[in-house]
């Protein structure tokens, strides 16, 4: 038996979540794009878009609420709903990181231009790829895929540590001026946030596993 | 209750179907009223002549137009009460067995039997009593009892046609009424009541005696009264069994007379107006008594069934 209304609610909720995921993905993309192009206006736009994301998040939460209180789901259904809500929470945080990267970009735009390290492009690509793929895994309800995406976290971690060490080394080499120090620290924070985004993807993957199978796993 | 609210709207289309059926249904109460009125009018001469003295008068002598109803009233009431005393324990026992859900095949036989008992025409009971029951009862009940207990006045003087034999056949005839209504009342006791008692560890008898019968008490009482009403009005079988002697017997083994029997025996031969009026007045007494008894019984049974409907 279908439970039509309930299924409709679930479908609409999943759709909202995918919409939210897409928005997050494009936010991250836009923020990195702004960073690469030193486009303060684009960075500003990312910061403004965040309110949509927050609104979407609020609505999804509310909708989960309504579905729970009106449809009284149990077992798999409840797990599914709660899983969707966990994922929404993670996506919202990712959006926050995108905003932070955009804020860093604004700071960097005010500083003299220095070519960006290759690692940033790489990390960005990796992170965006992870976000994209985890959304795909969510849509396809593909648990193995989600696990695979989470495992790519190591690569981002590795890059982050390299960037961190390089930047610290650079600053430690002396002869860094105030702008250089601010720039280095800001870039370090950008890398930090990218690494955090990748961490969140792992969490989403865990949530997908939970939502599909009810298993609580550590993919970190 | 908001009394202050303006007169509520009440607008319904007329229901012609209701009017038609209501008029037809009115036949029953109408007939009842007309019967009483007609009998009062028919007995007017006797009413006029004897007044209330008719009810206590003991003579019944058509040739001299002397009429008193007491012996007939006595015979009617006595035969009915004796029959009730015989039928009541049996009737309740049968009702209890019939209401029992187990042993359904035996119950089916018993139930059918009791209902057929009700279906047999009164006149058949009459002829059976006349030629079979009365002689047997005289020989095997009345004589032995009066031989041993004859020193008690009302157990002496055995006769073939007697108040006792009439009561015996009446007992058989009212048994189905008693049983059927008692069974229905017992069945109307919510099943949960029995289940609850059993679940508390009560035995079959404890359940029946402490729970089911008390719950059905009022209804069984109503059934008894209703049966009494049937006994009072029974005519033909009693006429054929009671001996038809217009007196107040000293013993239940002596002949007697009942209201209905007097009418049945004498009405077609009543030539004088007063005789006929006196007979009609007997009918009036009979119908008024049964009316009251029936009303009481019906109200009892109805209140019970309403109660069980509410608690069920």
């Amino acid at each position: 038996m279908p439970r039509l209304t309930f299924e409709r609610e679930l479908a609409s909720l999943r759709e909202s979540l995918v919409r939210m995921g897409t928005l997050v993905e494009s936010q991250i993309e836009a923020s990195l794009d702004a960073l690469r192009r030193r486009d303060a206006a684009a960075a500003e736009k990312v910061r403004n878009q965040d309110q949509y994301l927050n609104e979407l998040f609020r609505q999804i939460r509310e909708q989960v609420f309504m579905v729970i209180s009106t449809q009284q789901p149990v077992a798999r259904d409840l797990r599914y709903l709660m899983g969707l809500q966990y994922i929404a929470t993670e996506l919202e945080r990712m959006g926050d990181y995108a905003v932070r990267i955009a804020r860093m970009t604004s700071t960097l735009c005010a500083l003299p231009e220095v070519p960006l390290r290759a690692e940033f492009g790489l990390m960005g690509e990796l992170a965006i790829g992870q976000v994209h793929d985890i959304l795909e895994a969510l849509i396809d309800q593909n648990e193995p895929h989600a696990r695979e995406v989470a495992s790519r976290d190591n690569e981002v971690d590795r890059l982050y540590h390299r960037v961190f060490e390089d930047l610290v080394k650079e600053m430690g080499a002396g002869g860094t001026d105030a702008d250089g120090a601010l720039r280095a620290v800001t870039l370090l924070l950008v890398a930090h946030n990218l690494e955090r985004i990748s961490d969140r993807v792992t969490n989403v993957a865990e949530d997908i596993v939970f939502l599909e199978s009810g298993q609580v796993v550590e993919l970190g | 209750m908001a009394e202050t609210v303006a007169a509520p709207v009440l607008r319904r289309p007329p229901d012609r179907f209701r009017t038609v059926t209501a008029l037809v249904a009115a036949a029953a109460p109408l007939v009842l009223v007309v019967i009483v009125v007609v009998l009062i009018r028919g007995s007017a001469p006797a009413l006029h002549q004897f007044g209330l003295g008719f009810l206590v008068g003991q003579t019944w002598n058509p040739p001299i137009d002397s009429f008193g109803a007491l012996p007939a009233i006595f015979g009617t009431v006595a035969s009915s009460l004796i029959s009730l005393a015989i039928a009541l324990p049996v009737g309740i026992a049968v009702a209890v067995i019939l209401a029992e859900p187990s042993h359904s095949s035996i119950r089916g036989v018993i139930g059918t039997g009791i209902e057929l008992l009700a279906a047999i025409p009164s006149v058949v009971y009459g002829i059976w009593t006349l030629y079979v029951l009365s002689p047997w009862s005289y020989e095997h009940l009345e004589v032995p009892i009066s031989d041993r207990l004859g020193f008690i006045g009302w157990l002496s003087q055995p006769a073939t046609r007697s108040l006792f034999n009439a009561s015996l056949v009446l007992a058989v005839m009212i048994l189905p009424t008693l049983t059927a209504i008692s069974r229905d009342v017992i069945r109307a006791v919510p099943r949960g009541m029995k289940e609850n008692a059993v679940a508390l560890g009560a035995t079959w008898w404890e359940t029946t005696w402490h729970v089911i019968l008390p719950a059905a008490r009022a209804g069984i009482f109503g059934a008894t009264i209703l049966a009494l009403g049937r006994a009072l009005g029974e005519t033909i079988a009693v006429t054929m069994a009671i001996g038809n002697r217009y007196w107040i017997p000293q013993s239940i083994f002596e002949p007697a007379y009942t209201l209905a029997s007097v009418i049945a025996n004498e009405f077609t031969e009543a030539t004088s107006t007063l005789h006929q009026a006196a007979l009609i007045e007997l009918g009036l007494v009979l119908i008024l008594v049964t009316l009251v008894v029936n009303l009481v019984a019906l109200l009892l049974v109805r209140s019970v069934s309403r109660e069980t409907r509410l608690t069920a």
């Binding site: 439970r3 609409s12 009284q72 | -």
Partner: protein, 274 residues
């Protein structure tokens, strides 16, 4: 690339609420059985082609309210009503066109009560007495069974007695019978309380598909059911002193079950009432 997101979460409700057309307008309705007042001053509007649930504890007058909507209360001699219940501009309380009203406002009862005839005849019964043409009747039978999600299960045994159906099927048959005469509003009085959970959910699914064509009003003592199926919910309560039923709160179901405005509603739906 990024578009401002459209609002999510039952947007269709939001458009209806406040702005949507009302099918039934209940206006200051009071109702009496003899001297006893059963309903007091009930006012609300039932939106078209939506499911409106009426909930409340026993004795709150929810069934009575439902029976006012198609004048079923005419069966009780001393019953009378004040105020107005307007359906399509016609006042139910004062109308004399009872038969038209009941054809327009169908009703499904707690117990399915199939008529003692074949499945086909059950549905054809009313159309026949209304004098429809055989072809139209035949079509109505198939169509209403189809819409009541029963056709597949019974199409090979339309001539079997309706009593051979299971409880849930009988209730769907009752719905089919009701929609055969093309009502606009369907009243349901605890339609699932005699059914098991499985049959209940089937009926609930059916209800949600029926809203394409019908306005549904359902009385249920099962709060969860109201939450599951309805778009709007009316909560009623017996006045502690006057003992008449009152409408306490009427709102979209999701709101009522998440943010009830009245303390008493909240107490009832969270099970802390009484």
């Amino acid at each position: 690339m990024i578009q401002p997101p459209a609002p999510v979460g039952r947007p269709e409700l939001r458009t209806v609420y406040g702005a949507g057309p009302a099918k039934v307008k209940v206006d200051q309705l009071s109702f009496y059985y003899g001297k006893f007042q059963a309903l007091h001053d009930v006012t609300f509007e039932i939106p078209e082609k939506r499911i409106t649930a009426i909930i409340g504890p026993s004795g709150c007058g929810k069934s009575t309210l439902l029976r006012v909507l198609n004048r079923m209360y005419d069966l009780v001699p001393s019953a009378r009503a004040t105020g107005a219940v307007v359906i399509d501009g016609e006042d139910v309380v004062s109308t004399r066109k009872l038969l038209d009203l009941r054809q327009k406002v169908g009703m499904v009862f707690q117990r399915a009560t199939p008529f003692p005839m074949s499945i086909r005849d059950n549905i054809a019964f009313a159309p026949r007495l209304l004098g429809w043409k055989p072809a139209r009747i035949k079509e109505a039978v198939t169509e209403s069974l189809e819409r009541a999600a029963l056709l597949d299960e019974v199409k090979d045994r339309l001539d079997e007695p309706a009593t051979s159906l299971s409880g849930g099927q009988q209730q769907r048959l009752a719905i089919a019978r009701c929609i055969a005469v093309s009502p606009q509003v369907i009243l349901m009085d605890e339609p699932c309380s005699a059914l098991d959970p499985v049959a209940t959910l089937k009926i609930e699914d059916l209800m949600s598909t029926l809203t394409r064509d019908f306005t549904i009003v359902i009385v249920t003592h099962n709060m969860q059911q109201a939450a599951r199926v309805s778009d709007f919910t009316a909560f009623m309560l017996m006045h502690p002193e006057h003992r008449y039923g009152e409408l306490i709160e009427f709102a979209p179901t999701a709101d009522l079950f998440n943010q009830p405005q009245d303390q008493r509603t909240e107490a009832y739906i969270t099970g802390r009432f009484g």
